[in-house]
């Protein structure tokens, strides 16, 4: 057998039993340009918004336990509740949460010392708190009640000042997202050490690259639409008012031209996480690595051609079939990923860690969301279930069953790297069971009530749906409860979890080739990636991982044959 060079470069020393100094908690509360600090800042703040949005979801389900108004004073109050729920979850939780993992993990995986523009990175993060305050403040004046999609004339003629604040806040978040994405693109393209070629990049980096390209090209559409909306609201223009020579559909077109690609902003990084977690925790190479990387790019580009499938009922009829076809085409790159994931775990040495469980949870739930997505793309079916709970079910299967499960998988997977401590696996499994079944029984029955005709966005519904809604409501409370398990686990593990060491999962990607948590400069020397980021299961990989462990134990790189 050939001798193995240990190509990680000289790194700091970390014994398995020894904790590395980690940043003081106060460092997370102030301005910092270190991408690892910023990543955690993004993570904690978006998780807080997850709790806010989750509390609103509990309110929604409470209201829907009975067919009549009970929790809410009026239909309008209910409207503003679900409007804020959607807005907070999408703009303040999922999108910034991926910036959290992107920020922390991507530069490490690339072997870079930091992001390309550290100052801009911090600035993009610090736009979020004021934006959040503006949006949430709107809830306490005359709240926005046009849904997170804010269609005019609901958002122009029939909404109060809260809608203006909503638009201003969303504008700020858009700017933050564009700046963050520019930073990711430049970092991924320009900041790699020489030996990290594009085709050696871990798939999370590919996914974040694709996501960032979408964000840079799509978010300005939202910015443009919001600018016109604000003008309509405060300057008396009539861009979206047919009575004044404007066009209501203009908003729908521009908004979805942003928001459909934004759906992929919300899920592509999760797909990247899945490739990492499934491969590492089943000790097998990613099946079809290049195709998975390229399919991220494919989704990014095809994603711009499907927006009008959100408008099947308002579109010129002759445009429906073309959009139906493009929408079905985008299922192809997604399908490639799905088969790659199955091929990756097939015959692997699967370890049912919490991260792996959530990744498998994603796999099983996202496929349902994907299939209902294709069902909704089919025009005749869509016309039938348009604006019903079937749609609500579909997008929660991709956003919760997809994105949130991937966020949890990523949390369990990278928590040891961030804090230097392992999370409690037993609690992780309990959390998974509650989340998985709570989720399934919350959202699966919505398919059925949707097909039976229950409309979305109503507080008062036909009494024949009561039992279904009670099942959904009770399961939603279980799902809400499950969040506290992971909060407890995170806090407990941060202080009392076992020391993780540099590479607890024995992974080949470079974030594990430095201490946990990494030093301020990430790496002392430029690290040299292993020839294949997912080359598990070979003798060479095992020897490499042993050598990495050895080098951390000694605090110096072992010398190899070359």
């Amino acid at each position: 057998m050939a001798t193995i060079a240990v190509p990680v470069g000289a790194q700091a020393e970390q014994n398995e039993q020894e904790a590395v100094r980690r940043p003081a908690l106060s460092e997370y509360l102030r301005w910092s340009v270190d991408h690892k600090i910023i990543g955690v800042q993004y993570g904690i703040s978006s998780f807080l918004f997850f709790l806010v949005g989750g509390a609103m979801a509990m309110g929604i389900r409470w209201e829907l336990l009975t067919p009549a108004l009970d929790l809410m004073v009026s239909g309008s109050a209910y409207n503003s509740l679900f409007t804020m729920h959607g807005t907070v979850m999408i703009f303040l939780f999922i999108i910034p949460m991926w910036a959290a993992f992107g920020n922390f993990v991507v530069p490490l995986q690339l072997g870079a010392k930091d992001m390309a523009f550290p100052w801009l990175n911090a600035f993009a993060f610090w736009l979020i708190p004021p934006a959040a305050i503006v949006i949430l403040m709107g809830y306490f004046v005359t709240p926005a009640e046009a849904g997170w999609t804010s269609y005019p004339p609901l958002s122009t003629l029939f909404s109060g000042d809260g809608q203006t604040l909503w638009a201003l806040g969303a504008h700020l978040l858009g700017i933050s997202s564009i700046m963050g994405s520019i930073n990711f693109i430049v970092t991924i393209l320009n900041m790699r050490p020489e030996s990290m070629t594009l085709w050696r990049m871990p798939l999370l980096c590919w996914a974040v690259l694709a996501t960032s390209i979408i964000a840079v090209m799509a978010t300005p559409f939202l910015a443009g639409a919001l600018t016109l909306l604000l003008l309509d609201r405060v300057a008396g223009t009539t861009f979206f008012d047919a009575a004044g020579g404007g066009d209501v559909l203009l908003w729908q077109n521009i908004f979805w031209f942003y928001s459909h690609p934004a759906v992929y902003i919300m899920v592509l990084p999760g797909m990247g996480v899945l490739s990492e977690v499934l491969s590492i925790h089943s000790r097998k190479p990613v099946f079809g690595y290049r195709m998975v990387g390229l399919s991220s790019m494919g989704i990014a580009f095809v994603g711009f051609t499907v927006w009008a499938h959100h408008m099947f009922t308002s579109l010129q009829p002759e445009l429906r079939i073309p959009f139906m076809i493009t929408t079905m085409i985008i299922a192809v790159p997604t399908g490639i990923k799905m088969f790659s994931w199955l091929g990756t775990i097939w015959g692997g040495k699967i370890r049912f860690t919490s991260a792996m469980l959530f990744a498998l949870g994603f796999l099983s739930m996202f496929v349902i969301g994907g299939i209902t997505g294709v069902m909704l793309a089919a025009l005749p079916f869509d016309i039938h279930v348009h604006d019903t709970y079937f749609v609500v079910s579909h997008f929660h299967f991709v956003l919760f069953g997809g994105s949130v499960f991937a966020i949890y998988a990523a949390l369990y997977h990278w928590f040891p790297k961030v804090t230097g401590r392992m999370m409690n696996e037993q609690l992780g499994r309990i959390h998974f069971v509650f989340t998985y079944f709570g989720f399934l029984f919350t959202f699966f029955p919505m398919h059925i009530v949707g097909m039976l005709g229950m409309p979305r966005r109503v507080a008062v519904y036909d009494p024949s749906f009561t039992q279904w809604n009670q099942l959904i409501g009770l399961s939603a409370f279980v799902l809400g409860f499950s969040t506290f398990i992971v909060i407890y686990n995170v806090i407990r593990s941060y202080y009392r979890g076992p020391i993780a060491g540099a590479n607890p999962w024995r992974a080949l990607t470079l974030e594990w080739a430095t201490t946990s948590p990494p030093p301020v400069t990430n790496f002392i020397d430029d690290p040299i990636p292993y020839e294949d980021p997912y080359g598990y299961g070979t003798e060479a990989a095992t020897a490499y991982l042993d050598a990495v462990d050895e080098s951390f134990r000694n605090g110096r790189p072992a010398s190899g044959g070359h």
């Binding site: 000289a10 790194q11 700091a12 020393e13 100094r21 910092s32 340009v33 270190d34 600090i37 010392k113 930091d114 390309a116 523009f117 550290p118 801009l120 564009i178 520019i182 930073n183 693109i185 430049v186 393209l189 320009n190 900041m191 840079v216 090209m217 978010t219 300005p220 559409f221 910015a223 443009g224 639409a225 600018t227 016109l228 003008l231 300057a235 008396g236 223009t237 009539t238 861009f239 008012d241 004044g244 020579g245 203009l250 521009i254 030093p519 301020v520 400069t521 002392i524 020397d525 605090g555 110096r556």
Partner: protein, 211 residues
């Protein structure tokens, strides 16, 4: 053998970029500006398309407005803006040749061009409002559909010129301190932005005033 010392761990986080060469850092900055400009194109194009649709659907309104307004003022304004782009190029060239005071002069002229352009736009806007072409919707006015579609893109562009003028002044302030003596990347980034603003104006001028 590389080991982390306590000093290194405690070092301020922004000290760790000594590894990036000036050239790499310049390339990063330029790519960043290009991506930013790409996203700006999108916002402008939304507003431009809004105008173009009106031009196609209601040619009579636009023709009347052209008749009333004429293109004298705006042509002069366009010339000023184009000239300022030239000054910009000369400013960068001066700095690359190590001529700091020349750079300050040329960038100063660039800023002045921007200011003159904004002044011209102010005069134009006041003339238009006397004609009754205003931003908000007015049931009485025959210009209602034109006003918002004209002001949104041109004022959005004007705001970019204003930002450009402020940026030029900042470049001069930093340049005067010798910040660009060895690496004029800051001027180059401003130049990319300024040329972009210029190109957008050529688009707007052609679409709104000429055709």
């Amino acid at each position: 053998m590389a080991q982390l010392t306590a000093d290194q761990l405690a070092a301020p986080v922004h000290d760790d970029h000594g590894h990036m060469s000036v050239e790499d850092s310049n390339n990063n900055l330029k790519l960043g500006v290009w991506l930013y400009l790409a996203s700006e194109i999108v916002i402008f194009s939304i507003m431009i398309v809004g105008y173009v649709l009106l031009r196609i659907n209601e040619p009579a309104v636009v023709a009347q407005a052209h008749e009333k307004l004429g293109v004298g003022l705006v042509t002069a304004n366009t010339f000023v803006l184009l000239a300022s782009s030239f000054f910009m190029v000369m400013g960068l060239r001066a700095m690359q040749q190590g001529n700091r005071s020349g750079m300050l002069r040329w960038i100063g002229l660039t800023a002045l061009g921007g200011i003159v352009f904004l002044g011209g736009q102010y005069i134009e806007y006041s003339e238009l409002s006397h004609l009754g072409i205003v931003l908000g919707y007015d049931l009485e006015s025959q210009w209602s559909t034109l006003g918002m579609r004209f002001y949104a893109p041109t004022a959005f562009h004007g705001a970019h010129v204003l930002v450009g003028v402020l940026w030029a002044l900042e470049v001069m302030r930093r340049g005067a301190k010798g910040r660009y003596d060895h690496n004029p990347i800051g001027i180059e980034m401003f130049g990319l932005y300024w040329h972009f603003v210029d190109v957008v104006w050529i688009m707007l001028f052609t679409l709104i005033y000429l055709v």
